[in-house]
Symmetry: C2
Subunit: 411 residues, 2 copies
């Protein structure tokens, strides 16, 4: 039954070298988050379909991989009003909706302020393209139950520490507050009921530029010159922007206090920063690295959402690192010292002798691999070097003890 043997469209297999690299980057991130007092949790990869389609996911809700109910028959197909009627579960599209569900389920077992880490895959049925996958890993931290700025401080210090640990130093964080944005939009004459639409447009600034945004805002009643002039003036806005008449003073003062509380973080005020998700209610931030044009992650305060399934308000703030973008930037090779011994043998060497040799070698080398000697030993050794092996030895029939073998470095 030869058949196409690739992974499903837009998804990836990870071979040993890449798998190891990914796991080491994830371990580094986990270790830092743990050192900042965050606790890792895990939820199932599927959630109830109704929950995934409850309006908290924005456009992501359209990209759910839906899971068919079990035990359906043809009659059920005939009676269904829409395909989704046949689904009771779906693969999660983010880690925030599951966190809200988790928190509602386990509130009584969690501390008053709960700092969660989630490092796990999510799924979106996007059109596959370079750097975009249908299964990808997110690294989220969230502080639930903390209404004050301590939540933002925790998120910013832990995230930048994680990036530092990965060797991604020199990052800066753009920060804004949804209230600052609302003041800006109001100063342009955007009607309150058009605010959400206007935010979606301003969020495209990186992609379509000032002229593109201004052109789209016209449809929301904002004259081209008003928004374009303002956006051009705000392109280099920084902490000195205290005199703008539309600036929400209270929100800005909170951002200044946040800046002063995290002296180790390069925090830059950007009044045009939007962040896509509709659920943000206060601070929003996005972390950038000088080497790449895209953000490495972002987050913000979303006080209205975690309580949705619980039926009561829960203050919350979170930060999500885009792992798939990170992992390609990181060079952790230096930290992964080679270790272990490879015993290269011919087919004729008795298996029992190999097993004995390995038992001896494990004591001395900690990690021992039995490999049949390949025709091209050079290629084989290069592969073993990539897997992090330090040394190798040829084993021939009759070799009985480790001392008979000549151990050489792999690379």
């Amino acid at each position: 039954m030869p058949s196409p043997v690739n992974p499903p469209r837009g998804m990836r297999d990870f071979l040993p070298v890449e798998k190891r690299r990914r796991d080491r980057v994830l371990a580094t991130i986990r270790d830092v988050y743990r050192s900042y007092g965050f606790d890792e949790i895990e939820t199932p990869v599927v959630e109830d379909s109704a929950r995934l389609h409850s309006g908290l996911g924005g456009d992501n809700e359209k990209q759910v991989f839906a899971v068919l109910r079990r035990g359906l028959d043809v009659d059920d197909l005939r009676k269904a009003g829409a395909p989704l009627d046949l689904a009771d579960l779906g693969l999660r599209f983010d880690l925030t909706v599951p966190l809200a569900r988790f928190y509602a389920s386990h509130r009584a077992e969690l501390p008053a302020v709960f700092r969660a880490v989630q490092v796990a895959p999510v799924w979106r049925a996007e059109r596959p393209q370079k750097g975009r996958y249908r299964q990808f890993v997110q690294c989220d931290i969230d502080v639930l139950g903390e209404a004050g700025p301590l939540a933002e401080i925790e998120l910013l210090t832990a995230t930048t520490a994680a990036l530092d640990a990965l060797g991604l130093t020199g990052t800066h964080v753009r920060v804004n507050d949804r209230r600052v944005l609302l003041g800006l939009l109001a100063s342009w004459g955007v009607a309150p009921d058009a605010t959400d639409c206007a935010l979606v447009v301003v969020d495209k600034l990186d992609k379509i530029g000032v002229d593109g945004v201004a052109a789209e805002l016209v449809e929301l009643g904002v004259p081209v010159d008003v928004s374009a002039t303002a956006l051009r003036q705000l392109a280099d806005a920084d902490w000195t922007l205290t005199d703008a008449p539309w600036l929400d003073r209270a929100a800005f003062a909170e951002l200044e206090a946040l800046r002063d509380a995290v002296p180790g973080v390069d925090l830059r005020f950007d009044p045009t920063l939007v962040r896509g998700m509709g659920y943000y209610t206060g601070t929003i931030f996005e972390v950038a690295h000088p080497d790449v044009p895209y953000s490495l992650g972002g987050g913000g305060r979303y006080d209205g959402m975690i309580g949705r399934f619980l039926g009561q308000d829960v203050p919350a703030a979170g930060f999500s690192l885009g792992f798939e973008r990170l992992v390609d930037l990181v060079d952790l090779a230096a930290g992964d010292a080679a270790d272990g011994l490879v015993l290269l043998h011919d087919r004729q060497v008795p298996p029992a002798a190999l097993a004995r040799l390995r038992t001896d070698a494990l004591r001395r080398h900690g990690r021992v691999r039995l490999d049949r000697r390949a025709k091209n030993v050079g290629v084989q050794l290069a592969g073993l070097a990539a897997l992090g092996y330090a040394s190798f030895a040829f084993v021939r029939t009759g070799d009985e003890t480790l001392d008979e073998l000549e151990v050489k470095p792999v690379a």
Copy 2:
């Protein structure tokens, strides 16, 4: 929108203490497998639906969570001949079918003998019951491309070493060969085309006993007294069973050689051991621990299967640990020394001061958590002890340096 907030039926959330325990058990298993030269790989959680229903999964194929095609409309529902016609993907029910697909896809990039580790969740829509979950973790190792006994030696030594590392010493491994079973069935007069059915029946020995098995075998033409007598005699069979006229001598000699090659493993010959899956072709084994009545895992040689998607024969043998059963047996507490400091603060302490204190404390304690002081500090400290924290200190407004704090042990 208050609504039921439990995880989907038969699936589980993991809170911090349990998540940490599971991850430490998994890390121990991974480390041992790595020390034996196995390489971890990862595949997507979904595979093509047709592949999951290609006959390699036995009864598991009936328990697939099927994923709806995207972009379906009501017309598609009307035209579908069966629910599965609407699915293009499914959640994997084991790690062996994905491994076969992975191997077919990446054969050229892998060594001639490939030792794979997979530690990952699988999904089965089983009726939920105690100890059975619809999402659960499997830990598989497989040796692909090795036709000789070295594969079995690697699997047995690595698996028992992993169990030893978990503190589960005293395990033994029941071993058999499918060829031995076929000889036994032939001696009872089972027709060749009834062999698979007869194996399914004998496999129930643990559950329904000798009389139950003998009764079911009657329908396959085996007189009750023939099978019952034989099964009773074989209940205590061991390596001395060399004179049985039905015994496949070649297969038995190979098992003896395997036993002699792994002196550190307590390998016990059991001619009634079947293992459920139809794809086994040679050696089969199951690992048991004196403390529990169920097996901790098992595996065997399955030479016909890995090549199914590749279109050529690939010798293969694998061993799967049942992680969910293991994790409840393991007490790793001793290995997880408490570390870190918790700064318990009141709501009044300025966030910036807390952030500064933590920065100082991180240098000295490696891991620092900020927690608001709870009303019941005793309960709070017990929770922190469970999370592995070593010490704590109260922070009050005005505390500016770590030296002003009195650091006490958590437990």
